[in-house]
């Protein structure tokens, strides 16, 4: 029987192949994807909007004078495509499509296979991590503007890509080791390349011990969350039916407690949520947690689903160990 977890797994792997190798088969999904698909990967099938946003071609590094030209229209076009894609699929991009997210799941899977316990953060540490994604977002928005308009050194261009852990790691899937190199061209390039390699190594260890570790600081998450209001994707909780068992919190790979604690609002889609549906799969109450697309209910929690899959030992497979 096809479970949500299995369906997600199949989609993730399919999208990993499409976004990493699709270009070799002529697939090109554009330059405004709301997921970390790195353009440094030779033969990519579409790349991350963060690159476009920072660049001088269609992004913030474009000179102000160019904003009124066809180049400016192209920049708006790319932004519109991003908003459309982010609105259409919302956080499904993170949990179901993002190739770097899939890679993180593989690393976590390896840890589980090795029988190593997952690391746990204290709530204080989790709260400390929360603003990091906004700091990174501000960093990637401000630095290109400074490069374009205040004469900041050109080597600060694409500032987020310079420290993004996906950049050194993802090209390894096509046999490209170039992004692991240290660049001794000048002091700025050397510092950035040391940061890039160091952050990638640290993140790799982090995602080994903690599921979806990078997603807690990913600046794409707040960008997608900005378009939540116009998105047809809804993740809702029927507060009245909740028994407060806490399964949703325990099973969540990114330790979101809002779903469990929410006692008033119907909407429980937070910016850290990646719509993996693990919580809904583990909720034993009928229709307490539901994923909706416009008015259509795509998946709802149910006692029978939990019973069926718990007996088979499926339900807990995606969560803790």
């Amino acid at each position: 029987m096809v479970t949500v977890s299995n369906l997600r797994l199949i989609t993730q792997h399919l999208m990993f192949v499409v976004l990493t190798y699709g270009g070799r088969a002529g697939i090109q999904l554009g330059h405004a994807l709301p997921c970390l698909s790195c353009p440094v990967v030779t033969g990519y099938g579409g790349h991350c909007y963060l690159v476009t946003l920072q660049s001088y071609v269609w992004g913030l590094q474009m000179a102000a004078a160019d904003m009124l030209t066809a180049k400016g229209l192209q920049a708006l076009y790319q932004l519109a495509i991003f908003v459309l894609l982010a609105a259409l699929l919302g956080k499904l991009w993170c949990g179901w499509i993002c190739p770097f997210g899939t890679f993180q799941d593989w690393v976590s899977h390896l840890r589980k296979k090795l029988g190593i316990r997952e690391g746990q953060f204290s709530w204080r540490t989790r709260d400390l991590f929360k603003p990091v994604k906004y700091i990174l977002l501000a960093y990637l928005l401000v630095i290109p503007l400074l490069v374009a308009h205040t004469g900041l050194h050109d080597d600060f261009r694409l500032p987020f890509c310079k420290i993004c852990p996906a950049k050194p790691i993802m090209p390894l899937f096509v046999g490209k080791t170039r992004c692991l190199e240290l660049d001794f061209t000048n002091t700025i390039t050397m510092v950035f390349s040391i940061l890039s390699v160091g952050i990638a190594a640290g993140m790799l260890v982090g995602m080994f011990f903690k599921e979806r570790f990078f997603c807690t600081v990913c600046p794409m998450a707040p960008l997608i969350h900005f378009v939540k209001r116009i998105s047809p994707i809804r993740f809702e909780k029927t507060v009245d039916g909740c028994l407060g068992c806490g399964n949703c919190h325990r099973m969540c790979p990114v330790d979101i407690r809002d779903v469990h604690e929410q006692q008033e609002k119907k909407d429980v889609l937070t910016e850290d949520c990646m719509l993996c549906m693990t919580c809904a799969e583990s909720c034993p109450q009928d229709r307490v947690l539901s994923l909706k697309y416009f008015k259509w209910r795509l998946f709802s929690s149910s006692g029978s689903y939990v019973a069926r899959h718990t007996n088979k030992g499926d339900a807990g497979s995606a969560g803790n160990d």
């Binding site: 066809a70 692991l180 000048n186 390699v197 190594a201 260890v205 080994f208």
Partner: protein
């Protein structure tokens, strides 16, 4: 002059003095005579120099290229009008396999400096050639660059492409390579010099009037230039650039046949020879090397070291019981 007075004092006969004066004037006058042969007002060579790149409203790009003499500040005499400058360029679309197109473009003048504007609305590799003549000296100036326009029109000037255009020899041909989209120091550039005369054996490399090196040109006209890394470019940023000019000069003897009639009406052919000078330049717009200063081994070492230290820190610091 001291020598002259000494000679006058020693040989004060008029015949001797006349001989000495003739000898001295020969020595003093020779450079001026030589200058007169090289035609005053004719620069030793012309070169292409890069100007501003302008993004047009329709998304096409216009690049201004100046035609200059060896000295960056100097202007061409009469704004280059006496050189009879001609310019044409060849475009090759980078995004699709298509035919090459040839366009003739007008040479304009601004404050005594001739220039051409090249426009492209698509991603294209453009090879510009400017030719000129001054007396018996013939000039070629060339360069290759890429424009990444997004208007979709190959050229905004709506110029109809010419058919195949044979470049007049001599000229310097940069053998195409994908790396030429962004020319960098440390890369190898292969050239083929299509000869006009007997063929030059050397090519001189200049940067800002400074002679950098002399390259050997093989009998078939091929030569290789590998620009060394430049610390100033490395420090300046990714889009910083410099111009390097390759110069080949050669001379060719040209024969002209003239039919001369004797006083009795019989004719005979008398051959006279002239000497043409060719000065061909190629301007390379070089950026800093993108990969030249990268090292993989230290990168891998740093990666492994950081990963090990982080893993040890996590294992050491993490709590024994999560809840």
């Amino acid at each position: 002059m001291t020598i002259l007075f000494e000679l006058i004092a020693r040989y004060h006969q008029p015949a001797h003095i006349a001989r000495v004066v003739a000898l001295v004037s020969l020595f003093i006058g020779t450079p001026f005579v030589a200058e007169a042969h090289a035609q005053p007002g004719c620069p030793p060579f012309i070169r292409i120099s890069y100007g501003d790149l302008i993004t047009e409203r329709d998304g096409s790009l216009t690049l201004r290229l100046f035609i200059r003499t060896p000295h960056a500040s100097s202007v061409l005499p009469d704004g280059g009008t006496n050189l009879k400058l001609n310019a044409f360029y060849e475009t090759e679309c980078l995004s699709s396999e298509g035919p090459r197109h040839y366009y003739r473009t007008s040479v304009k003048c601004n404050n005594g400096v001739p220039y051409v504007d090249i426009n492209s609305g698509v991603s294209s590799r453009i090879e510009l050639t400017v030719s000129g003549t001054c007396g018996n000296r013939q000039y070629r100036a060339q360069t290759v660059f890429c424009l990444f326009g997004i208007s979709g029109m190959e050229t905004a000037n709506s110029m109809s492409p010419l058919g195949h255009l044979e470049v007049e020899k001599p000229f310097i041909h940069l053998i195409p390579d994908p790396s030429h989209r962004w020319m960098q120091t440390g890369e190898t550039y292969r050239f083929a010099y299509k000869k006009g005369g007997n063929g030059s054996r050397v090519a001189d490399v200049f940067e800002n009037e400074r002679h950098l090196e002399t390259l050997d040109v093989d009998p078939a006209g091929r030569f290789i230039y590998k620009p060394p890394h430049d610390r100033n470019l490395d420090r300046a940023g990714r889009s910083a650039h410099k111009e390097v000019v390759l110069l080949i000069k050669e001379q060719a003897f040209t024969g002209t046949a003239v039919t001369v009639r004797n006083h009795d009406g019989a004719g005979y052919i008398r051959e006279s020879t002239g000497k043409d000078e060719y000065a061909s330049t190629f301007t390379l717009l070089l950026h800093r090397s993108y990969y030249g200063h990268r090292k993989l081994l230290p990168g891998i070492a740093l990666f492994l070291l950081t990963a090990t230290v982080t893993a040890l820190a996590v294992i050491q610091k993490r709590r024994a019981f999560p809840w």
